[in-house]
Amino acid sequence: MTIAQPHAGWVGRSIRRVEDPTLIAGAGRFTADLPATYRVRFVRSERAAGRISKIHVPDGATAITATDLAGVKPIRPMLHKFDYVPIGQPILARDHVRFVGEPIAAVVAPSDAEAEDIAEAIEVAMEDQAAVIDARTALAAEAPRVHAEVAGNLIVKGAVETPGFADARARADSIVRLELRSRRQNAMPLEPRGGHAAFDAGSGRVTLTCSTQMPHLTRTAITDLLGMPESDLRVVAPDVGGGFGQKMSLATEYVLLVWLARKLRSSVAWHEDRRENLIAAFHSRDQFIEIEGAFDSNGKLLALAADVIANVGAYSCFPTTCAVEPLMAMAELPGPYDVRAYRCAARGVLTNTCPMAPYRGVSRPVITFALERLMDRAALEFGLEPSEIRRRNLIETFPYVSATGLTFDEASYRQTLEMAVAALDLPAFRARQQQARARGRYLGIGFSAFSERTGYGTPAFAARGMEIIPGFETIDLSMGPSGLVEARIGASPHGQGLRTTLAQIIADEIGVPPDRIRVIHGDTDRTPYGFGTFASRSAVIAGGASLLAARKVRSKLIKIASLLLEAAPDDIVLDGGAAKVAGTDRSIAIEALARAAYHQVHRFKGEIEPGIAASATYDPAGTFANACHVAIVEVDPETGQVRIENFIAAEDAGRLINPMIVDGQIQGGIAQGIGNALLEEIVYDQTGNILTTTLADFLPPTAHEIPPIELHHLETVSDASVTRAKGVGEGGAIGAPAAVINAINDALAPFGAEINEIPATPRRIRAAIHAARKPAEQRA
């Protein structure tokens, strides 16, 4: 392992974010800030399954229904593997509704209030049909079908078994089995989704401003569905108030807005309210996992097996498809451990619930929870410290090819574990835990070691059999005559500080400070085609493209300087806004080079092309970041309340470009993971009615629930990323739930109680204690 060396340039410095001043001043520009001629309100299904018999619209009201949308194609994402059955999602429900919250009609009025009044007056007559809400129930032979064409509601199924699996399992001394449940969650960005579509009579074009993580693919998708030329639509992602994956999937509502803007030749806007967001803006993490580990007598994992059932809701999201959760679970479940024998079956199951879509970490918070619970249970059986069983199983040699064929690049699984253990003084904690128990207080410690596959390009997505294969990012970099640099990127940040991070990378190459570099994103008219910001990819992929383009600009600047300074190119150094001849006092300002490139091209005598511009594309195979999280909690067995005393994360995301931003990503991810572990749950009743429709029911963490978070960094240099940076966006959220739940279980050990469910609410914790007491009482 090579550790990154201190760097003299802009990379590695916690410079303040260029994004901040406007946002702090209240001058940010979010989608809902735009004025519109018309406002749209959706009438949504109140039934989980039904057949629409009549829609009654009051006289004089404007309401669009499916019958108005003749010629508009349904959203039909495609996957060419794993027995995926394609299904269509109409933009407005046509005959059937399949989940509570599905859009049925769109009301158009001059104000939100009027549109809401009209929407409430619209009557939808419907015949109820049998609904299925739970994934395991949906797999039963007699279960109603959510889509007629999908037998058994099984929309996708994957299976893998390595050669020799059965033999490896048979050699084991001990088999440890667990059943785990992750309840449904909502990414819940603080800015709900929203769109604004404006028709321009002069050009015939529509500009859709919307709260999206992937503007280019949104444009392609909508123009495909509406059958219009791609160039007739411009998609703008202005300031976006968080996404966490929820805003990467195509919203049916945006398709309708573009259709309406063209129809009305005007501007229309829709802003999701929180209830709509909670019931209809994509859910995630609704999974059952059965996991089994076969260990030798030393606690070494010989074989791992799992069965994953993912409830994917009523439709398949675009572009990833609803297969993303079950298939990622199957591919990445072995995590950071060296295990050669692996068997897994993963199924995606349709139900009459809100569609599933990626949410920060996608399946990995759930599979990490499952695998890390397995490790702790095994540690208990072997009488080992949780840290020790991990020490015996973590990957240590690189490159490592996993049981599912993933190539793990240079990382520090073992070192981050040791770093975390050293930071917390484990023997002291165990002593304190014993003393506390004697006083009737229950402390627990939980570990979570994990790998985070980040910055992966087209090969990784192609392996999933996706029809739309994202992965590369392109940057168009130019320096104008004034010497100001513009970097136009296809990535689409929404809180990650990417404008700052990329400027730091570019600054080091071309010798101008970051404040002379403007990063432009989120506008299909102004940026090269790219896939947006998701999957911990932008720092790696857009960052890599930035570095490659900046190197081209650098070599052009050196060429010009060499000609103007009459020095050899190898002797030119770009630094501090000037090109200098090494070892002399001769220099020329970079602004002067820029002027010359545009206005004094005659001096180049045809040897150098005019202008300063370069493009580059980066499409890496991917790089694995890693970390070890440790949570220390206290559980009150009477109330089931969990207090997190301390949280330690030792992480390795390769080279830190802006350490402040990296820390922010990790802390924020951990906070979200703590919410996922303890609080956040979307609840349906048996009829498919959703019960968690406000932020008083669906509970994101507040300042009270988040403990101090102690961060430690390693910077492993990996050739898998040209900038040596690994992705860091999802890691916090991936590792934290497992650490918290393991800590709760450690705290509950004196009761013999165990909890393998997320979120571990006070009610569930009390039930676990009660269930453990019961057999003991019965025995007595």
């Binding site: 303040r16 974010r17 994004e19 901040d20 001043p21 946002l23 702090i24 001043a25 209240g26 001058a27 940010g28 520009r29 979010f30 809902a32 800030d33 939100d112 209030a113 819940m188 960005p189 603080l190 800015e191 709900p192 300031d239 976006v240 108030g241 968080g242 966490f244 802003h271 309210d273 929180r274 929404h494 809180g495 990650q496 500080g497 402040m660 931003i661 820390d663 922010g664 802390q667 924020g668 991810g669 951990i670 906070a671 979200q672 406000t694 932020l695 008083a696 994101p700 507040t702 300042a703 009270h704 988040i706 101090p708 978070i709």
Partner: protein
């Protein structure tokens, strides 16, 4: 519905609008007065993104009618900075990386401004308690609390006081 006139002082200047009686203060500020820095995250009083200061008190602008605020002195996020210059509280948010997407930030700034105006000596527990009514989905809150602590001097808190 007949519109009603409302008048306030907003960020030190007189402002007036004609609104429906049911118009919330948040909608009035955003739509009528074009002060779009006040954000709407839930419209049911939980997330705190719409918080503004009304006659010195931090108020959920989504839960107050514009008509109820008639005659009040209102401070929105736009009123915290002095022209192009960030206030010390705002600058502290930048210094501590107390925002990522920035959507919750206006409501958190106004909440913190109201708190520190009344209690410049608020400690971390008090700040956490008051800010527990504002949801931030990005930062994990820790840098926000640090930023508010660090801004106390600008509100008259003298460090090292007994």
């Amino acid at each position: 519905m007949t519109n009603i006139p409302v008048r306030f002082t907003v960020n030190g200047r007189g402002a007036e609008a004609s609104v429906e009686p049911r118009t919330s203060l948040a909608d009035c500020l955003r739509r009528e007065l074009k002060l779009t820095g006040t954000h709407l995250g839930c419209e049911h009083g939980v997330c705190g993104a719409c918080t503004v200061v009304v006659d010195g008190a931090a108020v959920r602008a989504c839960l107050m009618l514009a008509a109820q605020a008639d005659g009040s002195d209102i401070i929105t996020v736009e009123g915290l900075s002095n022209g192009d210059e960030l206030s010390p509280l705002q600058a502290s948010f930048r210094k501590h990386h107390a925002l990522q997407c920035g959507f919750c930030t206006p409501g958190i700034l106004t909440t913190a401004h109201a708190l520190l105006t009344e209690e410049p000596d608020a400690d971390a527990d008090r700040i956490r308690d008051v800010l527990s009514g504002n949801i931030c989905r990005c930062t994990g809150y820790i840098p926000i609390i640090e930023a508010v602590l660090d801004a106390r001097a600008a509100y008259g808190y003298v460090t090292g006081e007994p």
